[in-house]
Structures are given as C-alpha cells and as structure tokens.
C-alpha cells in the first residue's frame, strides 16, 4: 500500500486551450470599455458579470451541493443593505461595508441553514422561499433601514475610495473583478475535495455519510461560500444603483436561479453562459419594447426558458460540452491516447 505521488504540471498540453481562451477573453473584456463608448452595452455587460457572480453564488449551494435555494436574494439584500446602512447612517466606507455585509450574510446563512438543511429537496426550497418573503416583509416595515422607500445615497462622495462613480467604466471593472472572484471560489471548490464532497451530497446523502463525509459541515461550507458571494454582489448592486430598496435587492432569487439553471448547474461557466444569454435578451427587449408599456420582453424571456428546459435539460452548457466532446473525440481517435487523465 505504498502511495506514490507524481507531480503534474499545470502547463500541460491539455490545459493549453482553456488557458489561452481564458487569457484572450479576459484581454478582450478588459479592453471593452475603451472602445465601447455608448452607455447601454456597457450597462448590459456589467449586469452580465454581476448576475454571473450571483448565479455562481446560487450554483455553489444549489448546483454543486444540491440544496435548491429559492431565496438567494436574502443574502444579496443583507449584503447590499449592510453596506448601505453603514455608509449612509454611520459613514463607514462601502468597501469595509462590503466585508461586513459578507460576514453578516454568512452568519444569516448559518442561522438559516442550521435548521433548514435538515429538510429534504422541495421542502428546503419552499422554506427558502418563505425566508425571502419574511425578510422582505421585515425590511419594508423597518424604518431604520428606510422601509419600503429604501436608502438613497447622498451623492457627495465619488471615486474608488467610496465605491461610487459617475462613469460606467469603473463599475465595469469592479463587476468583472467580482465575476473573476466568483470563478476563483468555484475553482477552489472544484480543485479540492470539497467539490467531490458537495457533488456526492447532491446525489445521495446516505452515500456521503457512509463515505465519511460530515454532511452538515460541508453544507455549511457551501452556504458560507454562497452567502459571501451573494452579499458582495448585493453591495455592488447598491453601489451601482446608488440606492438600496427591498424590490431591487430582495426580489432577485428567481432570476438568479433561472439564469443559472438555463446556463447549466454544477459547472463553472454555467452561470456566465446563462447570464450572457438571458441578460441581453431581457435588457435589450425591455429597452426596445418599453415604449408600448407591454410585456413582450417578459414573454420572450419566459418562452426562452421553457424552450431551453425542454430541448437542453442540462442547460445551455450542454451544447458547448457536446461540441467540445465531439472535437476532442475526433482528436483522440487520431492520436490514440491509451489512457486519459481523470478530472
């Protein structure tokens, strides 16, 4: 039973393509604001990055660990409100507020998770739905946090120090950073035992326990990652809107879930793909049809969801993976690799 350990290099041929693709896309993304001078496309891109990060926060808890949350927005709200209240009422720097919000959201997540993780499947989902309603009711009646009106920023302090800008480009870079941070979280999970453990818990908790997995502990870990990210997204959203109100922070649970499942759950780029498709559709359709005051944009949005779930049950990422598999299979057939590397 001697165990040998062969060190494998990160810079392998197999990794070359993803790395190159990643660097190219990052470069393009970083240069985008230099060339895009119109505000609207920039706004759409900011929303894509933000929702990709929020989707990832849902994905960690629900896609990887299988605990389907219909109340992810609670943590977005806690994050956004914490930093906003601290800033507007106490003059605390929003960056510090973001950290405070993330911590508070993690504590909330722990408090909610402790009892609710005992529930199975849909009971958990409905419980989270109830939690978000409870939070919404409390926030709208709570005058200390501005009640139904919300909190409006004084619009005095601008610049990186105050996390508030008159231009869109700085928000763009911060949102992009937030998205990269969300990928980093997923990478940490995927490239460690945590990812394997979460997927096992998702498939079968009895198996997980039998294999020595401390199920409550790993669910709590997923919750901690998930809530932190959601809260950071909440602070970003409040700073971007320059206000925090119940409707824009506590009512995002369903869109977050929809776009992630559309993109593909339990995969790193699923949320980005989902956001990349749904957000532009939503934003452009809304802008295009807005004059008539009708709901054609939402009809289109709903139709896309229903059609995708029928045609691509695994999400849009299924299309990409299918293409990649075909590509690599034809390559493998030529080189006849005897044994491939497991993930």
């Amino acid at each position: 039973m001697n165990r040998t350990f062969v060190k494998r290099s990160f810079w392998t041929k197999k990794n070359a393509f993803p790395i190159a693709a990643f660097l190219t896309l990052t470069a393009v993304a970083l240069l985008a604001p230099v060339y895009i001078k119109i505000l609207f496309p920039l706004h759409v891109l900011i929303m894509i990055y933000l929702y990709s990060a929020l989707g990832t926060s849902w994905n960690i808890l629900s896609g990887y660990a299988g605990q389907i949350s219909l109340g992810q927005s609670v943590f977005v709200g806690v994050g956004g409100y914490t930093s906003s209240v601290l800033f507007v009422s106490y003059g605390v720097n929003p960056w510090l507020g973001m950290i405070a919000g993330a911590l508070l959201a993690a504590i909330f997540g722990w408090l909610i998770g402790k009892p609710c993780f005992r529930l199975s499947g849909r009971y958990f989902a409905i419980a989270t739905m109830a939690v978000v309603q409870i939070a919404y009711i409390i926030v709208t009646r709570w005058e200390f946090v501005g009640g139904a009106r919300g909190i409006y920023f004084p619009l005095k302090n601008w610049g990186l120090r105050f996390f508030a800008f008159r231009a869109k480009a700085p928000y763009y870079y911060i949102a992009f950073g937030l998205m990269l941070f969300s990928f980093l979280m997923v990478l940490i999970i995927e490239k460690s035992h945590i990812g394997y453990y979460l997927k096992t818990i998702r498939e079968d908790e009895d198996v997980a326990k039998a294999l020595g997995i401390d199920v409550p502990k790993y669910k709590a870990i997923a919750m901690a990652f998930s809530t932190t990210l959601a809260a950071m997204g909440g602070t970003f959203l409040a700073q971007y809107l320059l206000f925090a109100d119940p409707d824009s922070l506590f009512m995002l649970s369903i869109p977050i879930m929809l776009l992630t499942v559309m993109g593909g759950t339990g995969s790193m780029f699923g949320p980005l793909i989902g956001a990349g498709v749904l957000i532009p559709v939503q934003e452009y359709a809304r802008a295009y049809w807005s004059g008539s005051g009708q709901a054609l944009d939402q009809i289109l949005y709903g139709l896309i969801i229903v059609v995708i779930v029928i045609l691509q049950p695994r999400g849009l990422i299924g299309i990409f993976e299918g293409a990649r598999r075909r590509f690599f299979r034809s390559e493998a057939a030529q080189t006849k690799t005897p044994q491939r590397e497991g993930i």
Partner: protein, 287 residues
C-alpha cells in the same frame, strides 16, 4: 377595530378557498412528485377568463364556472403534453426552472393582453353582504367558501371511489409498477394536470366574484397554497382542505392580533417551524 368573530369567520371562508387552490397543487405534487410553482398563475388566468366572459358576454361567474373549469382542464392537459412531459424525468432543478418559466410566461402574457391594471367584476349576481353570527361577510366570499368545500368533496369522492381515482392513486404510489396493471401513466399525469388546473380554475372563478384581478395576483396565493400543501402533506386532499383553512385562520388571526402587515410573516414562519417538526405534514404518509 374588527371584532374577533368577524376575523374568525372571514379567515374560515378565505381558508376554504385556499384549500381548493391547494388541492390541485397537492394532487400534482402527490401523483407526479413535482411542485407546480405556476399553479396559482393558472388561477390568475382563470380569473381573467371569468372577467372576460362577464364583461364581453355578460355571463355571470356563477354560470361561467363550468366553462372556465372545462377550459382549464383542457389547458392543464395541453400544458402537460406540450411542456411538463419533457421534464418529468428530470431533476428537481429542471422541474423548478420549467414551472418558474411558466410563471414568467403566464404573467407576462396576461400583462400583454390585459395590461397591469386592476380589474373587478362589477355587481355580479352574488353581491352584497350577509351576516354570519356577529360577522358581516360579502356573499361572494361565502359562496366561494362553501362551493370550494363542495368541490373539494367531489374531487375527493372521485379519487376515493372511482376507477379513475384508483388508477391515479396507484400511479402516485408507484409510477413504475402502475403500467403492469394496465395503467397508462402518461394519461394519469395528464389527468392530474387537468384536474389540478380545473380545480384551481374553479377557485379562480369564485375569487373573481369579489377579488381584484391583475397579472401578479397569483403570487401571494402560490406561497399560501405551498404552505398549505406542505402542512397538509402532499397528495392528501383532506389534508389540503384542513391545512388551507388553518392557513386562512392563522392569517386572519395574526392580522388581527399583531398587525395586518405581518400576517404573512406569521404564516411563513409557522410553515418553517411546522415543517421542521413534521417534515411530511400532518396528513402525509410518505416517508
């Protein structure tokens, strides 16, 4: 300030309607092991149908009931075959995504066709108030409550006493062995959707008698119905009715004792507490 009798009686009658709404949800949940998050948005559709029949054809809700219920039954079967059938074998996330997609679709279609304005049926046949004990209630609400109970009883009878009901229950117990005794599972699922939507459609007709009609009207009812189903135990019709009434009473009482703004807060908190203590509801038998 309202007095307690008023609160209890109106809570009771509201609860009966919640019960009828919950039955369809519970049936689909129990038979297909699937949560239809768009359930009460279908009810919203039925409310609009009722409204249109009234305003365009002058048909009173009392008479449009069979028409709307039949229409909703067909819509249920159609939805099953067009959409639901394709996700039935999928995971919980896909089913959830699918029915939430329907939520978006139904609400936006209603918004597009009938705008977001509040509509109301003016002076239906059943209007005015009635006194029950010391409480004064709109007749529409009383009719809705009583008719809901009656319909719930009828559905329960069909499930308990007829061959079709027996086949439905067999499918609920084991969809894989049901075909062995000659049950066509696909048809049973379609039937569950038909009955589910017909019953929630009937609830919509009753509600249209005295309630505002707007595209998002389903949202609150959806959560209340989910709570009722979870409390009553999925698949159980008596459970859905009793839990629906309980939800109505709790809602009314907490509105009275605490503050109307917090009534749902109490209902939802109670859901979480109850479900933690009894994960399968009070009438549920599944483990």
């Amino acid at each position: 300030m309202e007095h307690i009798e008023q609160v209890l009686v109106s809570g009771l009658f509201a609860g009966m309607v919640y019960g009828l709404i919950s039955i369809g949800l519970s049936l689909i949940w129990g038979i297909m092991d699937m949560v239809n998050f768009a359930h009460s948005d279908f009810m919203m559709l039925a409310m609009y149908f009722t409204y249109l029949l009234f305003s365009k054809l002058g048909l009173d809700p009392l008479f449009s009931l069979p028409l709307v219920a039949a229409g909703m039954f067909c819509l249920g079967v159609l939805t099953y075959f067009l959409v639901i059938r394709h996700v039935i074998g999928g995971e919980l996330v896909q089913q959830t995504l699918c029915t939430f997609g329907l939520v978006v679709l139904l609400q936006s279609v209603a918004q597009y066709l009938w705008t977001g304005n509040y509509q109301m049926i003016n002076e239906p046949l059943v209007s005015g108030n009635i006194r029950i004990f010391a409480a004064s209630l709109s007749k529409g609400q009383v009719v809705a409550g009583v008719a809901s109970l009656f319909l719930a009883g009828a559905i329960w009878w069909v499930i308990q006493k007829t061959r079709i009901g027996w086949a439905l229950m067999a499918t609920a117990q084991n969809r894989y062995s049901a075909p062995l005794v000659g049950i066509k599972v696909d048809r049973m699922f379609a039937l569950a959707w038909g009955i589910g939507l017909a019953s929630v459609g009937a609830a919509g007709v009753f509600l249209a008698n005295y309630y505002y009609i707007y595209p998002q009207v389903g949202a609150t009812f959806q959560l209340l119905a989910l709570v009722a189903v979870a409390l009553g135990g999925f698949g159980s019709i008596p459970g859905a009715i009793v839990a629906g009434i309980a939800v109505g009473l709790i809602e009314a009482l907490s509105g009275y004792l605490i503050e109307p703004a917090y009534k749902y807060l109490v209902v939802f908190s109670l859901y979480i507490v109850v479900v933690l203590v009894r994960p399968h509801g009070f009438f549920g038998t599944h483990s």
